[in-house]
Symmetry: C2
Subunit: 134 residues, 2 copies
């Protein structure tokens, strides 16, 4: 599955993919329910069209069970997150990680617990950084 090239996924298609990743295999109606739960303006026809397009893009696959399709991702959320993140970083911050992180940290008031966890994360990174030097 990791050998698949990551297809380009549009913003609305992301919503559909996230609904599938939230639990799969999943039928169209299950996916539509999840989408509608998050945003009631979703129309089932639209969702089905996007599902079909994502299949054509090789982001999803399905197995027909009777006349019901059961969808399954062909690309992991992790892979797509990585691709989208890299693209976003390059496009909006010219690839500069530090200003991007600073932007997010400053733009939102993080709770003390969140800050503590991030600090922990940064601490965890330091030994690796050292290891690379040796």
């Amino acid at each position: 599955m990791s050998a698949n090239p990551i297809p380009r996924i549009s913003e609305t298609e992301w919503e559909v993919m996230r609904a599938v990743w939230a639990g799969h295999p999943a039928t169209a109606s299950e996916i539509i329910e999840r989408l509608a739960a998050a945003d009631p303006s979703w129309h089932p026809k639209t969702a089905k069209t996007l599902l079909a397009r994502l299949v054509r893009k090789a982001a999803l696959d399905y197995e027909a069970q009777g006349r019901r399709y059961v969808y399954e991702p062909l690309v992991t959320e992790r892979e797509c997150v990585a691709a989208a993140s890299a693209s976003f970083l390059e496009r909006v911050f010219g690839g500069a990680l530090k200003p991007m992180l600073a932007h997010f940290v400053e733009s939102r008031r993080l709770s003390r617990a969140e800050l503590a966890e991030l600090r922990q994360l940064l601490e965890r990174e330091t030994p690796e950084s050292n290891r690379r030097k040796s």
Copy 2:
């Protein structure tokens, strides 16, 4: 300028905007040079079309000096970065800041200096966090 709604800026348009923000006012040929310096596959015609579209979108404005147009952004980089960042966070991480930050920190080996600066940034955030509690 902050009263302007932030137009939707496509990925390629972002490149053009970044070239303008890099120094403005700027003529089309200056912008084209900057774009080509970053990526030689840019075609001047394409750049000019995108400039015209960004003008129509109210992201840019221009002043004609002779037959040369001198472009100026109508929206700040900061505003557009904020809008794109919020949209990205919502789309790819469902609005969850912590996993997003974790993703970026883990996906790239930050230097010790970078880590230290981020830690500093987090320290800087703590007093505000406390202030909110009182």
